[in-house]
Amino acid sequence: MNTHSARSTFTRVRSFVARRALTAAATLAVLGVCTFAAGVEGCGGTTGLRRVSFSMRVGGYERSPGPYTFETRTGWSVTLTEARGAIGPVYFNTIAPLETSRATVPRAPASRRAFDVRRLLLPLAHADSGSHFGAGRIVAEINEQREFDLLDPTLVAFDRPAAGVDEPVRTAELWFYNRATLRDSALRVAGTATRGDRTVRFSGAFAIDPAAATQEQPLDALRQVRGIPLELIPDEESSVELRVDLRPCFANADFSELLASAPGRDGARSFTRRDNVGAGFEAGVRATSGTWRFRVAPKAQAR
């Protein structure tokens, strides 16, 4: 190949490459204009999950009309005449439910703890040594307190919807704050208990006592009932119902212990955390199953 031929070949190659380069430049320019528009709009793709809000209603457990009467395992027939509570805020967690945890198991009165044979033989298992079985992740919440009649099965809605993201919920958390209208308590009940010829008028409350906070059970832990089972993938049409059943709170109550205390001006005897009725009531309130029953309402019903 002579020099002229080589130069000619090189010139052709060069012009070919230059043409290709210009074509590429034009293509890039067109692509640039297209992507500019796309970029301004930021279209295409998401970062995952979406914000949702859904409703929640709360009420007493469903029962036939009439007095709120039930039998306890100890043979007492209990009729609740008053039961009001204030629930909230409510948090929805991704963590799976666990039957019990250190934070949610109420502490029995010290005088009885030593005789709890089951506790000695089968210590409670904990997923970690913290205040709960793991923090999980809160994906929705109702940042509001709602007072309602626990005896009335009619569901009442929270004023504000739950706000969160569409991530699966496995459990719910109820937090309690004392309320002035409930005489500085979160739940207040009154009623009568009858066994044989003995009738006991009683009243009592579940209240958050800041003075009861300890290193192991700080105030926030005292306020909350964590790990209540709820299977929910929230969306805008979701509606969650919470039914409150107070029967488990008195399941093991022996009201005869209250007879040792003096009745109040209204003739009712008050239970406290120090007697078996009060301890059982608080245990029931703090239990993750039994008292609190969540249910996801069918979509049509929710609408």
């Binding site: 060069r14 490459v17 230059a18 380069a21 210009l22 590429a24 430049a25 890039l28 320019a29 692509l31 640039g32 992507t35 500019f36 796309a38 970029g39 301004v40 709009e41 930021g42 295409g44 793709g45 998401t46 970062t47 995952g48 999950l49 979406r50 914000r51 909230g88 805020p89 948090y91 040594s129 913290g130 205040s131 809160i138 994906v139 929705a140 919440e141 940042n143 509001e144 307190q145 706000a163 969160g164 993201v165 937090w175 704050y177 906070a213 300890t214 290193q215 192991e216 700080p218 105030l219 926030d220 832990a221």
Partner: protein, 752 residues
């Protein structure tokens, strides 16, 4: 034949006045280095050969007249860069670049005159890069390489690197006072002795402001000085920087609180937030053309107080006496010493009558730091818990080989491989934090016992790692000013000492990057034009994402980015225009979701005109300069599939100059756009609501509102004395020519 040549790249400069903006030529070589007009031959190094189509050497020139907050702000001249800074005037800028959320420097290697700025093992962010020690008036050139394509690029060059060249071309002296809204004052003086090289100067800055909104005041003092001396073929350059500041920070606000009117857009939750920073550095560069070295030493102190979560994280823990939430404010402190050396030796040969170069380089860096992070009671400076307290010693040694081959007139092949070694020696002075043995005294932060009995609360951890990073560039052309470049490179970010375990093989965050693009440059009819368009693809194996609970970054999954950009700059005697637009798409590898906060579109226009007015006073023309800068940021993807509104912000300035005196007015955020700078999505509780909120919520830091101010500048020197004396067409303010080219690279090994 391989022979060692000395200073084959003789450079020439214009022998008389020229526009302040030195136009770029083919692929970045500056025209004054290759276009002698007066035959004044001086020695100096040319601009570094380009490594990719995105290799952007930016001569600041007249675009420096557009209002800039600081030296980091100059980065916006580079394609695809978007900056935010919502945590205070003394806080490093958050950098977004081509789909990267480079945070505070974790993915972008910053240097000035070869001195590294990124701080490894920094308590606030690994790779924290605070460029505020650089006075923007002395930044002559900025080279932004948007990818790991050059073997000289080191740690943190994941998304690329930014190299500041500090020089002053306008010789003489300049004293400027600025006064703006929010009681903002800034005084800056630059002294550049006439007849000396551009690298010889002294500059100082004092600034203070009450800041916009609440708790954004600041005070700072900065000094930069450079000196250049030539000994035969060898050039010695020195640079000294000193900087200190104290600043307030408004921190983040919850969007729902702002919407509900509980706080104002420019308010703060915690007025104790802010920081104190000092940074003092020295760099010495010896440059002999075929060999060179840069030595540096930097001493830094850092203190930052911030509160991202309010009252959320202070849960009751074992070993603590009962307490309520005391507040999540954290105080991060660090003092560090940074010593290093980079050096190179270069072999040159001629093949086929074309110069071929082979370079060997060495990089060594040692950083000793003393870091801590403590939790503070809300609204106070009283610490109640220690998150960490450790002393890392980090050593980084690297060697590289880089070839610059030109086998054909239209083909250049550049590249090589870089081998990095890292060694970590971390003394954790509170390794027992969180440990509690029943019966032990409460509230002991670093107990001297664990379940096995007594133990010393200190623990030492060492780790090391090696990494090879190949990089290669192939350039076809130029043909009539048009070049086509292909580039591939592997970069990495070193491991964060905070997370290393003893004996661990230090993990890196390797990056694979590739790009292809066209570059066009031409000088004609008094115009200098450069334009580029390219596409890119980048993959990061382990990314870092911001963890608000820790107040710092934590490791996340791999990510992939792709996109394209187009940029151009046109310059003549009276006009300087630069514009660029970049599209980026960044997704996580495991689920294909978008990487949040990354702007898909960044567009920027900078334009400056300098014209003599037909008005003379005492035979001197009045000259007018005007500049405008505008940024458009596309809708950013936010967590929960939401989008942040697009942002459009414009800045402008106008000034009149008569001989020595220049009077100006400037305005930033001309349209007073109210927008969020940084945005986050996480759980916080600032007690703005009746009960604790525990669902992730949108947070933001407020960008500055409109600021209008005036400036008075006094120019002193023979160049200033001549200003406006020539005829209209030549009345641009020309600098007194420096003695040598000054076009030399910022550092040995950094730019050949």
């Amino acid at each position: 034949m391989l022979c060692v040549a000395c200073c084959c790249f003789g450079a020439r400069v214009h022998g008389q006045q020229r526009p302040r903006s030195a136009p770029t030529s083919a692929h970045g070589e500056r025209s004054e280095e290759r276009a002698p007009e007066q035959g004044v031959r001086v020695r100096g190094n040319p601009a570094p050969p380009p490594r990719a189509a995105s290799d952007t050497p930016i001569t600041i020139g007249r675009l420096g007249d557009i209002p800039r907050a600081n030296a980091a702000d100059l980065l916006r001249l580079a394609p695809g860069i978007f900056l935010t800074n919502g945590l205070g005037e003394g806080h490093a800028e958050q950098v977004f670049l081509r789909g990267f959320d480079a945070r505070l420097g974790q993915d972008l290697e910053f240097t000035y005159e070869g001195v590294p700025i990124n701080e490894p093992a920094h308590p606030h962010s690994h790779g924290y890069a605070d460029t505020h020690s650089i006075i923007p008036e002395v930044v002559d050139q900025l080279r932004v390489l948007e990818g790991p394509f050059d073997p000289r690029q080191g740690d943190f060059a994941v998304a690329g690197s930014a190299q500041y060249a500090l020089r002053v071309r306008e010789r003489g002296a300049r004293l400027q006072y600025r006064f703006g809204m929010f009681n903002t004052h800034r005084l800056v003086g630059v002294l550049a002795p006439e007849g000396e090289a551009p690298s010889t100067f002294v500059a100082a800055e004092l600034a203070r402001s009450d800041g916009y909104g609440q708790n954004r005041s600041y005070e700072r003092a900065t000094g930069n000085a450079g000196y250049e001396r030539r000994f035969g073929n060898v050039t010695l350059r020195g640079i000294v920087t000193s900087y200190l500041t104290r600043y307030g920070s408004a921190g983040v606000l919850r969007e729902d609180d702002v919407r509900a009117g509980r706080v104002g857009f420019f308010d703060t939750y915690d007025a104790t937030q802010g920081g104190d920073v000092s940074r003092h550095g020295i760099g010495l560069t010896l440059d002999g053309g075929t060999f060179g070295a840069t030595l540096w030493g930097t001493y830094r102190t850092f203190r930052l107080r911030e509160n991202f979560t309010g009252f959320l994280l202070d849960r009751q823990r074992a070993g603590q006496s009962p307490h309520e939430q005391r507040g999540d404010a954290i105080e991060q402190t660090s003092s560090s010493v940074d010593l290093g050396l980079r050096a190179y030796g270069r072999l040159r040969a001629t093949f086929n009558q074309r110069p071929q170069t082979l370079e060997f380089g060495f990089y060594g860096r040692f950083v000793h730091a003393d870091n801590s992070q403590r939790r503070m009671r809300f609204g106070t400076n009283i610490p109640y818990a220690t998150d960490f307290e450790f002393t890392p010693d980090l050593a980084n040694a690297a060697i590289y080989v880089d070839a610059d081959l030109k086998p054909l007139s239209w083909l250049s092949i550049r590249g090589g491989v870089r081998l990095d070694g890292f060694h970590y020696n971390v003394l954790d002075r509170c390794a027992t934090r969180g440990t509690y043995v029943r019966g032990a005294p409460l509230d002991t932060e670093c107990p001297s016992a664990d379940r096995a009995g007594y133990r010393n609360p200190e623990t030492r951890r060492t780790a090391s790692g090696l990494l090879a990073q190949p990089r290669v560039t192939v350039i076809f052309g130029p043909w009539s000013g048009l070049s086509f470049a292909l580039a591939y490179g592997s970069g990495a970010r070193s491991a964060d000492a905070t997370y290393l375990g003893d004996g661990e093989r230090a993990p890196f965050s390797p990056t694979q990057a590739a790009e292809a693009g066209l570059v066009f440059t031409r000088d004609r009819g008094g115009w200098s034009l450069s334009a580029r368009a390219l596409g890119y693809l980048t993959h990061v194996e382990r990314d870092l994402v911001f963890d608000e609970a820790q107040g710092r970054n934590s490791i996340a999954n791999g990510t992939t980015r792709y996109g394209g950009l187009a940029a151009m700059r046109a310059t003549n005697r009276w006009l300087d225009v630069g514009m660029h637009v970049t599209y980026a798409r960044a997704t996580f590898d495991d689920n294909g979701l978008l990487v949040p906060y990354v702007p898909p579109l960044v567009a920027r226009l900078d334009a400056s005109v300098l014209v003599p007015l037909p008005l003379k006073i005492r035979e001197r023309h009045l000259t007018m300069s005007a500049g405008v800068g505008a940024s458009l940021i596309g809708q950013r993807a936010l967590p929960l599939s939401e989008k942040a509104p697009a942002i459009f912000v414009a800045d402008a300035q106008l000034s009149l100059r008569w001989t020595h005196v220049e009077l100006g007015v400037f305005c930033t955020n001309v349209f007073d756009a109210q927008y969020a700078w940084a945005q986050y999505n996480y759980v916080s509780d600032f007690r703005g609501q009746e009960f604790p909120t525990r669902v992730a919520s949108r947070h933001f830091t407020a960008a500055p509102p409109r600021n209008v101010g005036v400036s008075l500048t006094v120019h002193i020197g023979t160049g200033a004395a001549r200003h406006g004396a020539a005829e209209r067409g030549a009345a641009t303010p020309g600098p007194t020519q420096s003695r040598s080219s000054g076009a030399s690279a910022p550092s040995a090994g950094q730019q050949p």
